[in-house]
């Protein structure tokens, strides 16, 4: 019988470590002036430096160093007074130089931490994730494996290389072992990557688009029997590229290793790949023969020695911490915890804030972005702001608060704007969606409704206020839903002497 997750966590405790690679959003590459556009035609962004042609010399991108220092500061790291680049030597065609310029024993940032919060059975709980190091390196080229039976690298007939990505600045953020996560290891891993992504986004140092690979996570996991005090053999699941996948990868690896151990098999120290469809992992390269990268200091680059003045200038530019910002906005908007989490999880915090900053009511801004608009966006698998702009939503909310639109009409305006019928004003004109606010027009509809149901009207006159509902309904129907129901109610009750 195989163990499920609940059974696995009863027997084993996890040792978790995470390595996150983040592509910086500099305009040019790490060591040369080639552009870094995503999705450019193959090999249109290369030069002698990033192709590793003889005689070319790298020069470090200043902004890349500054971005890395900012990341270090945001993660409470010490910025090393002396830092160097090193060559990581290996033979693989994704790097035409036959080495990757990286950092080895002298990384630029060390000893930081990030606190993350998750929901546990005993309420929300904070975990401290210690950061061992943050270092600079360069991304590799993209390979396409052609032929063979599986479309994978194994047994392919040949491979095609595009070096546009080779040399794009990459920052690697490595945690220490995250202790005592127990059964919450998957959630802690996810919360860590999510918090990290929020911080990086706030720093504006990366696009942090996991689906495009500008943020990827390697999950290191080993298991040991509870209270055995022994460390197990770890596996490293590479390039997990969504928050959900990070959580699933830890979960899947936990179950796989637990089952192997239970049946007396050993865990092989190896690199594994995450499979989106099944949530499981499959083996990649075996690391049993320890890799020998023969690191040595990069002779073509000089040391990076950031002085205090430079570091302090950068520190001054640090934005508000995402967790602080969240608390501040939650208070300002008076939003309950649960709804604030919903905004954050939907990644709509920036959008709602922008809408509020334009002058919209926070509650309305939240309910439109998370309600109707998110619903349509989910149906079409796009992000809400790809459908409609913050400005348009602000205008629609303003029109509602001015009584020019009802919620029902506003939904039609949103629909029209999304359908490309123009601005909210255009849609209102084209579809004739203006609220009937002309009292005389409304009064006519009210009198018609009373005439059609005199007994109901009498009941209202007699003090049965709820009976007015039916009359209001017929007025709304007569005006094609374009009347403001509250206003109709007010006029109707007044007319019937209530």
């Amino acid at each position: 019988m195989s163990l499920n997750y609940e059974q696995a966590v009863e027997k084993y405790e996890p040792t978790l470590g995470l390595e996150v690679h983040v592509e910086l959003n500099t305009k040019s590459k790490m060591f040369c002036g080639c552009a870094t556009e995503f999705g450019a035609q193959p090999n249109t962004q290369t030069c002698p430096v990033c192709l590793g042609l003889p005689g070319s010399l790298p020069v470090v991108n200043k902004k890349a160093i500054e971005s890395t220092i900012l990341i270090g500061l945001a993660l409470n790291c010490t910025i090393a007074p002396y830092s160097r680049f090193a060559r990581k030597n290996y033979f693989y065609p994704d790097m035409p130089k036959n080495f990757q310029t990286s950092q080895y024993d002298e990384p630029i940032c060390v000893n930081g931490y990030l606190d993350v919060e998750i929901e546990t059975d005993d309420g929300s709980k904070s975990f401290r994730v210690e950061i061992e190091r943050v270092h600079m390196e360069e991304d590799t080229g993209k390979s396409l494996h052609v032929g063979g039976s599986t479309g994978r690298i194994h047994g392919a007939d040949y491979s095609l290389l595009d070096y546009n990505r080779a040399g794009i600045p990459l920052v690697e953020i490595v945690t220490r072992i995250i202790p005592n996560t127990g059964k919450y290891a998957p959630q802690v891993a996810r919360a860590y990557v999510a918090s990290l992504r929020d911080i990086l986004r706030g720093l504006k140092v990366s696009d942090v688009k996991m689906e495009q690979g500008s943020l990827r996570c390697d999950v290191n996991l080993s298991l040991s029997e509870i209270n055995s005090g022994k460390l197990g053999t770890r596996s490293e699941t590479k390039n997990v590229n969504s928050l959900r996948s990070v959580e699933r990868a830890v979960n899947g690896e936990f179950i796989r290793q637990a089952n192997r151990l239970t049946s007396g098999e050993r865990i092989i120290q190896e690199t594994r790949h995450f499979l989106e469809e099944s949530g499981q992992t499959r083996p990649g390269r075996s690391k049993e023969q320890a890799e020998d990268y023969r690191y040595f200091p990069e002779p073509d680059l000089v040391p990076v020695i950031p002085d205090n003045k430079w570091i302090e200038e950068l520190r001054k530019t640090l934005p508000e911490k995402p967790s602080d910002r969240r608390k501040r906005l939650q208070q300002a908007w008076s939003v309950p915890d649960k709804e604030m989490s919903a905004i954050v999880n939907a990644e709509l915090l920036d959008t709602v804030e922008e809408t509020v900053l334009l002058g919209a009511d926070p509650t309305k801004a939240r309910s439109w972005w998370l309600g109707e608009i998110s619903r349509i966006a989910n149906d079409r698998s796009v992000f809400p702001t790809e459908l409609i702009s913050v400005k348009d939503v602000y205008q629609i909310i303003t029109l509602i608060s001015q009584g020019e639109l009802t919620d029902k009409l506003a939904r039609q305006v949103v629909e029209g704007v999304i359908a490309g019928e123009g601005s909210p004003a255009d849609v209102i004109t084209k579809r004739g969606l203006k609220v009937v606010s002309d009292d005389s027009q409304l009064m006519k509809a009210i009198e018609d409704a009373i005439a059609a149901a005199p007994e109901t009207a009498d009941r209202v006159r007699g003090g049965n206020i709820p009976a007015a509902g039916a009359l209001i309904g017929s007025v709304m129907k007569a005006t094609g839903g374009k009347a403001d129901a509250a206003k109709v109610r007010e006029l109707l009750l007044k007319h019937l002497g209530q």
Partner: protein, 98 residues
């Protein structure tokens, strides 16, 4: 005792993907040992107060501004490639079947 063994030289050759005959390995092991011996003498001269150096010049923080400069055209980039296909560098099979 020699500073580098024949086995270590063989391992380096393997890592560097250089195929070597037994005679070449014997020869190189001896030769590299002499070179390392010479380096070791420099190490003796350098006191504890002399930090190891990776660069002959006392310079640091040489950086460039984050500005894009024109790249090579794809045909220029691929001009030295032994083979190319669909504007990409074409390389032989990397790994065989599992």
């Amino acid at each position: 005792m020699s500073a580098i063994s024949r086995d270590e030289v063989a391992n380096l050759a393997r890592l560097a993907r250089i195929s070597m005959s037994d005679a070449e390995l014997d020869h190189l092991a001896t030769e590299m040992d002499v070179i390392l011996g010479a380096v070791a003498r420099v190490q003796e001269v350098a006191g504890k107060d002399v930090p190891p150096t990776s660069h002959p010049l006392e310079v640091s923080n040489v950086v460039r501004e984050d500005q894009v400069v024109p790249s090579l055209t794809p045909s220029e980039a691929l001009s030295g490639a032994p083979a190319s296909h669909e504007q990409r560098f074409k390389v032989p099979q990397i790994l065989g079947e599992e």
